[in-house]
């Protein structure tokens, strides 16, 4: 299934009742060299657009918000040792976590890739 994006530059990709979440390539570029990703605790429940995780570069820190509601089922443990994976592939190997119990209905509040590109042009 395709990726959907938030205005805060998170992406989500659903596969059934599970979703993978990360930050967009654009956000990773804006932050610069990522030095740390504060991963959520497994089992944590979040509502759509609530703070889920946090990410830091040398000169900036920002929250990562949940693009959809759900419960944290897995986290990308590799980021603990190698936060630079987010710079290398924010929308691939740099994923942040997986949420379970998600519903497609919430995707309506997000942008598809084309809409997100348009949104970025307007920034």
């Amino acid at each position: 299934m395709a990726k959907f994006y938030t205005k805060e530059h998170e992406w989500v990709e659903m596969a059934g009742a599970q979703a993978t979440v990360g930050i967009s390539e654009h956000a990773a570029h804006e932050l610069g060299d990522i030095t740390y990703v504060e991963l959520p605790k497994i089992g944590k429940s979040v509502k759509q657009f609530e703070a889920l995780a946090a990410i830091e570069s040398v000169k900036a820190a920002s929250d990562i918000y949940a693009p959809v509601s759900g419960k944290v089922a897995a986290v990308n443990q590799a980021l603990d040792e190698a936060p630079e994976l987010v710079n290398q592939g924010a929308e691939f190997q740099g994923w942040i976590c997986k949420l379970e119990g998600v519903t497609e209905a919430e995707l309506g509040a997000l942008m598809d890739a084309a809409a997100y590109d348009e949104y970025l042009k307007g920034l």
Partner: protein
């Protein structure tokens, strides 16, 4: 340069420990005894002296370089006040808290009391406490006083503190430490907190609004009295961040304007040395009906002219162990006494003159986002240089190569590529001219040879350092 630990040679000693004149005691019980000695460097005294003398030479400082670091007031620290502050080195603070001990420490108690009176007069507040140990500590103490005030009135619903987006990060952080949620108000095109948005944000849930005046752009806030009035109308108190007090000594007193609580940075306005990042001192002053919430203890002057220490039962408790950073307070007291009324007024006048001169001469080449008379500092943007790929940081690093400490860069956050210059009153026109020439040279170089700016600094012991690596490696002590 090697670390002192890397210079260690087993068996070498620096200072001799005094010989014992008592019998050796039975050993400390095993269960509480340290297993291995503390691994400290073993160096001779000369090695030690060379190491730290040579380390010191890797620093820029006010005594060696012009240091126009905006918002930090890096003025010259007079030497006589250093001597004065050192006179109290052997005075144990616990003496003041012993029964009958206050009569032995009348000198330092008098200084605490008189400094509090001096600061109250300078800022127009009713009373001052010197207990907070730095500016941010003062902010937190001040917000705790505000919280105690609302609580005493039974007004429990106030949970927000308002700050402008241009504020120092310590403002929201201090309010959060005191348990408040933060509402941030954007800056309006006229360079100050947006008055309409502020009005909308005010409600009976707002405990306080925190402002810096002059603001972090170095401008005197035109709506300052109005903001205070709106806050008071809504039942909130007003907090004055004294970071920029150096601009207005004898000209404006926050208390007269309508501020309820203020803090003062003695290490900025009152000429005490910055010490490489501390110690500072952050006394707070309050209006009359807040005095009862000040921290305990209070130094008082009794009817017979002697000084004593009293508990302050309604206060917020203790925010530091004793009376504050006394050594710094004694220096500030000496500074105020040395300069006197006229001297302090001259401080602000010359600080403002110097900043406006700097602004007038640099605005041809550097973008000035708010082109109006400034107070003690001015904020430029390197946006024109950015067209050539040169950032504020590149200009800053080039200044280092030319022997000047850079201004503050990338603050305030509401100016892109900010370069914030605060010359202070103690710099001469000639020193500023030399600095201005290098700034203009950097602007030319941005157009002609930006690569040179990107490479800077090249004259320092190390070049630009890899901060990403530092943050990822987290190597914060040696093995």
């Amino acid at each position: 340069m090697e670390l002192i630990f890397e210079k260690s040679v087993s068996g070498r000693t620096g200072v001799r420990v005094p010989l014992s004149d008592v019998p050796k005691a039975a050993p400390l019980a095993d269960a509480v005894r340290r297993r291995d000695p503390v691994r400290l460097p073993e160096v001779g005294e000369l090695d030690l002296v060379r190491h730290y003398t040579n380390l010191s030479r890797r620093n820029f400082s006010v005594d060696t370089n012009f240091y126009p670091l905006g918002s930090c007031t890096m003025k010259y620290n007079t030497k006589v006040t250093e001597n004065a502050g050192g006179l109290f080195a052997s005075c144990h603070p616990m003496l003041a808290l012993l029964p009958g001990g206050d009569k032995l420490v009348q000198g330092p108690l008098a200084i605490v009391y008189e400094l509090e009176r001096q600061l109250a007069e300078i800022t127009g507040m009713e009373e001052v406490t010197t207990q907070p140990l730095a500016g941010a500590h003062g902010e937190m103490t001040g917000i705790m006083v505000i919280a105690a005030y609302h609580k005493a009135r039974g007004d429990q619903k106030r949970k927000y503190v308002i700050v402008p987006d241009s504020s120092h990060g310590t403002n929201p952080a201090s309010a959060a430490m005191a348990g408040y949620e933060i509402v941030t108000i954007p800056t309006a095109p006229y360079g100050d907190m947006d008055l309409d948005l502020f009005r909308q944000a005010m409600s009976d849930e707002v405990a306080a609004v925190m402002l810096t005046c002059p603001n972090t752009l170095g401008l005197f806030n035109p709506h300052i009295a109005e903001i205070c009035a709106i806050a008071h109308e809504g039942g909130a108190l007003t907090y004055y961040d004294g970071a920029n007090l150096n601009a207005i000594l004898g000209k404006v007193r926050p208390g007269d304007v309508g501020f309820d609580v203020i803090h003062v940075n003695l290490h900025k306005t009152f000429g005490t040395p910055h010490g490489g990042g501390g110690p500072g001192s952050g006394p707070i002053g309050v209006r009359g009906d807040l005095v009862r919430f000040l921290p305990t203890p209070r130094v008082v002057r009794r009817g017979d002219g002697s000084y004593g220490v009293e508990d302050h039962p309604e206060g917020i408790g203790r925010v530091s162990d004793f009376f504050g950073n006394f050594g710094i307070m004694a220096r500030a007291y000496a500074y105020i006494t040395l300069l006197g009324r006229e001297g302090l007024i001259e401080v602000s006048e010359q600080a403002v003159l110097n900043a406006n001169y700097m602004m007038a001469r640099l605005k041809e080449e550097y973008e000035l986002p708010f082109d109006q008379t400034c107070m003690h500092e001015c904020v430029f943007s390197a946006s024109r240089q950015l067209e050539h790929g040169v950032h504020a940081i590149d200009v800053a690093k080039y200044l280092i190569d030319r022997g000047f400490h850079p201004p503050t860069v990338y603050f305030p956050l509401n100016v892109k590529e900010a370069i914030m210059i605060e010359p202070t009153e103690t710099e001469s026109k000639q020193t500023m001219d030399a600095f201005i020439e290098v700034m203009l040279e950097a602007a030319r170089m941005a157009k002609e040879n930006p690569e040179r700016l990107h490479q800077a600094p090249v004259t320092t012991p190390v070049g630009r350092l890899d901060e990403t690596r530092a943050a990822r490696m987290q190597q914060v002590c040696c093995e």
